[in-house]
Symmetry: C2
Subunit: 173 residues, 2 copies
DNA sequence: TGCAGATCATCTATTTTATAGACGATATTA
DNA sequence: TAATATCGTCTATAAAATAGATGATCTGCA
């Protein structure tokens, strides 16, 4: 089939960024969902647990804002987690309107276990890049996404340069 | 040295990748939605139009598979576009079960216009990276996402090295 | 003190979106 | 020709997001 070479100048067509992001996220969530095996709320609940684990004593509303979920969505995600005994809602003694979310002992164990699974998924997805490239990729991803607080990007500027150098050495030939 | 420093080894906590992706995609879609100003189906319809534009004569099912949508979802996205007179469904004369989707004249115009808007959004989002870094980032993103057919990644291996070198020069100091 | 207004979490209802299954039309194979 | 498979649509259902109302509590102020 003689297919004329199609338009090389269009390499970076609009929507390509969104498409790649959407596809990658879809794959990610599918794999994570599978790896999380029955955690009610799937990858989002896992994210909630991660946040709770690292920044305790958050009100629900602050958690919701941080993750970018609606507060009512968070409510039923927490319902699910609480139903499984993975988190507890503790009334803030200083402000009895708000709840502190804390992991139960069981929740801590579950989180550790699930973290491994999720990390394996992430590792698998990034396997198409070299190890250092993967780190740099993530650094940039965090920067582009404006994700700075809560999760720290893996590398600082100096390390970035170092990895760039290595990547350059191995890839350019 | 006791542990004033909190867990630097944990920099790359599980779920961080998914979170950054989700946040970035949310921002992207919100901005695109706004920029697309009334296109029914929003960013997804736009993507459909892009695909249709570049690879004509696709059956609906092949389009759906390529984008990763359910065929029934595609049906109502196309309904919307057809309702606005942006695309037409043409029965394949060789297989009267399937429809070829083609842009109308009006659709071509709309696509061109919307493409500019979307590109502006993408450009804005990537503005946190240097220009060459942005290209390299996209190249890697495409590779990780496994997006190769349909949209070509912006750079080949040799160019990658070149940009890496430049990025290194400007960033390492 | 008591009242007005704001905030936190929940609940309810609505809307939107995704998924599953059946269907009619057509194609392919044996 | 009969049996089976495919394409696109439709209908019904399920899952999720969103908006608004509610009850409990807090704050500030007269």
């Amino acid at each position: 089939m003689s297919k004329a070479e199609p338009k090389d100048h269009e390499f970076l067509s609009a929507a390509s960024l969104g498409w790649a992001l959407a596809k990658l996220l879809r794959d990610y969530q599918k794999q994570v969902e599978a790896a999380l095996n029955g955690l009610p709320g799937g990858s989002r609940s896992f994210l909630v647990m991660s946040i709770v684990d690292r920044e305790r004593c958050q009100s629900q509303i602050s958690i919701a804002e941080k993750i970018g979920l609606d507060k009512t969505t968070l409510t039923y995600l927490l319902d699910g987690l609480e139903g499984q005994g993975l988190i507890k809602r503790v009334t803030d003694p200083n402000d009895r309107r708000s709840r502190h979310i804390v992991l139960t002992e069981q929740g801590v164990k579950a989180l550790a276990q699930h973290s491994k699974a999720v990390q394996a998924v992430e590792h698998g997805l990034l396997a198409r890049l070299g190890g250092d490239e993967a780190k740099l990729f993530q650094t940039w991803l965090f920067r582009v996404a404006g994700v700075g607080e809560g999760f720290k990007p893996p590398l600082d500027e100096a390390e970035t340069a170092e990895i760039c150098r290595a990547s350059l050495a191995s890839e350019s030939r």
